[in-house]
């Protein structure tokens, strides 16, 4: 446990000491700000049933920021260790392989979550300024953040796997971008395939991140999400572990 914490502290410090982190944070602030501004502008123009939270989490700005952030924060994780050769010092210290995988995953997840804090702050300040009704209930505010955590786990794990495949960060980012976007658009199969079967629709409903967000931002929790994403995350991390070990042993 202590070893895991040591590793985690190291991984986190790489995130928070690197300039990349602040560039990501900066773009995130801008995109979130735009999304927020867009939500308020929209609601000011015409009376609407929707809350600010709902509009925010269903805007294009939000989704762009959400999808692009995973490759950027995960590409470094394993690829850089292989590139620098530090994998050799890391893995000859008395640490278990799964501890290394877990610490990298957790650090990326924590960094990812911290990127959403400013937007949460927007909402809290906005509500505090006397627009409680435009925010909706507390549950309606927390539900999308819960979903961000759950879907984020899955996408961060995808990025971990991509990074374990290669020593080249750019290649890792490409693989992870393709996987992330691929999964995101999987539901579109239904629109492409003529009269798609109910079975196909059932399956793709599990990965319909747009739909999940739509219902969570209305405060409607979908229990399938809580089963599917955590178990997929676990599966992806097991695969990452295998790939990582395989590459090290072949090194």
């Amino acid at each position: 446990m202590r070893r895991l914490l040591t590793l985690l502290r190291r991984e986190l410090s790489v995130f928070y000491y690197s300039p990349i982190a602040y560039i990501v944070l900066f773009f995130f602030l801008i995109l979130n700000g735009l999304s927020f501004w867009f939500a308020i502008a929209l609601l000011n123009r015409a009376p609407s049933e929707n809350t600010v939270v709902q509009v925010f989490f269903n805007s294009a700005f939000f989704w762009i920021a959400y999808l692009l952030v995973f490759p950027v924060i995960t590409m470094r994780l394993f690829a850089e260790e292989f590139k620098l050769g530090t994998i050799e010092t890391l893995m000859t210290a008395p640490v278990r392989d799964w501890e290394v995988v877990a610490s990298k995953f957790l650090a990326a997840l924590i960094f990812y979550l911290s990127l959403w804090l400013p937007s949460l702050l927007y909402f809290i300040v906005f509500g505090w300024l006397g627009n409680r009704s435009a925010i909706g209930s507390a549950g309606q505010l927390w539900a999308p953040y819960l979903l961000l955590l759950i879907m984020g786990m899955f996408n961060v794990a995808l990025g971990c796997l991509a990074s374990a495949f290669t020593s080249n960060q750019i290649v890792a980012a490409m693989i992870s971008l393709v996987l992330t976007i691929g999964f995101f658009f999987l539901t579109l199969i239904n629109y492409v395939v003529n009269n798609s079967s109910p079975f196909l629709r059932d399956i793709t409903a599990y990965v319909a991140q747009l739909d999940h967000m739509d219902s969570f931002s209305r405060g409607v929790l979908d229990s399938r999400v809580f089963v599917f994403y955590p178990s997929m995350t676990f599966l992806l991390l097991v695969m990452t572990y295998q790939v990582f070990q395989y590459r090290r042993w072949r090194a």
């Binding site: 070893r3 050769g85 010092t89 000859t92």
Partner: protein, 310 residues
């Protein structure tokens, strides 16, 4: 401390080591020698549990490096050949991180970090980013890292490469003094270093052990000949022709400098031809200003064992 049995490692297309067996006892300082590509780093990487062997077994302090690798690794301080370090960390920060990863904490951790910074003379760069260190300092930081948790066994892959002569001497002394309490397996291409520090030498060539003995015994047993050096004014005589007639001489090469013939004479094993050459010189009225027999060195042993069938 180290036990290696029939260890074989095959890379796709290359057999790096084949059927290697050796042991290193507690307190030994063993030099692991061999030409480039002999399989030294491969062996060390397997011993450090970085990668598994294709077949065979190896153990450290009684713990199998594959099946019980965590415990094996706790006994080990390892300096990889390329000395990989995190460039974004500062020296002290890196040593603290590695110490804590290897199970140190609190006061003990702080003490050990100070001690190894002192031992490896990196105190003057302790707050510098590792990315900005010179090659030699990186090497020293790597060594300090290997030592930080006071491991029973040190495996050092070319520890003195890239160091300046003062540092090489210092590291040599350090290794010698560490040898009093630690077991050390080190690879190097600087053979004089091995003669000075190691209690035993293992020479491998193409993944097989060619010799394993003390440096003195190896030099003593060497089958090749030594060399006799003669510097003389031979007048109109051709020294090569005349010296080659002496029984026991293998070949002679000559180099002319300022009227002096500098002859380098390869002679057969365990023979001393100085007397015969002296008598020849008297008979032919040569003026001699040097006549020495060079003793075989570890280098001769190395060359003999690893070039024989090329």
């Amino acid at each position: 401390m180290i036990k290696v049995e029939q260890l074989t490692k095959k890379y796709p297309g290359v057999t790096a080591i084949s059927d290697l067996s050796f042991e290193v006892g507690k307190g030994e300082i063993v030099g692991f020698l061999g030409p480039n590509g002999a399989g030294k780093s491969t062996t060390m990487r397997i011993l450090s549990s970085f990668m598994p062997a294709t077949s065979g077994r190896a153990s450290i302090a009684g713990h199998d490096v594959f099946s019980d690798s965590l415990r094996a690794r706790m006994h080990l301080g390892y300096l990889p050949e390329s000395v990989p370090l995190y460039g974004d960390m500062r020296v002290s920060e890196y040593l603290r991180y590695r110490g804590s990863l290897k199970g140190l904490s609190g006061k003990k951790l702080r003490n050990r970090v100070e001690v190894v910074k002192e031992l490896c003379s990196v105190k003057d760069v302790e707050n510098q980013l590792i990315a900005t260190l010179s090659k030699g300092y990186r090497q020293r930081v790597g060594l300090a890292e290997a030592l930080v948790h006071e491991p029973d066994l040190l495996i050092l892959d070319e520890p003195t490469i890239g160091l300046d002569p003062n540092q090489i001497r210092q590291v040599r002394e350090l290794i010698k003094s560490l040898g009093e309490r630690h077991t050390i397996l080190l690879s190097t291409h600087i053979l004089s270093e091995v003669e000075m520090t190691c209690s035993r030498v293992i020479i491998i060539h193409r993944g097989k052990i060619e010799a394993s003995d003390t440096p003195e015994n190896l030099v003593g047993q060497i089958r090749t000949s030594g060399t006799v050096k003669v510097e003389a004014k031979t007048g109109s005589d051709d020294p090569v022709q005349m010296i080659e007639k002496i029984p026991g001489v293998k070949n002679v090469s000559v180099n002319m400098e300022d009227g002096w013939q500098q002859c380098s004479i390869r002679v057969e094993a365990n023979s001393d031809l100085r007397e015969a050459i002296f008598r020849l010189a008297i008979a032919r009225h040569w003026v001699v200003r040097e006549l020495t027999q060079e003793r075989a060195t570890l280098e001769d042993v190395f060359v003999e064992l690893t070039q024989a069938d090329d």
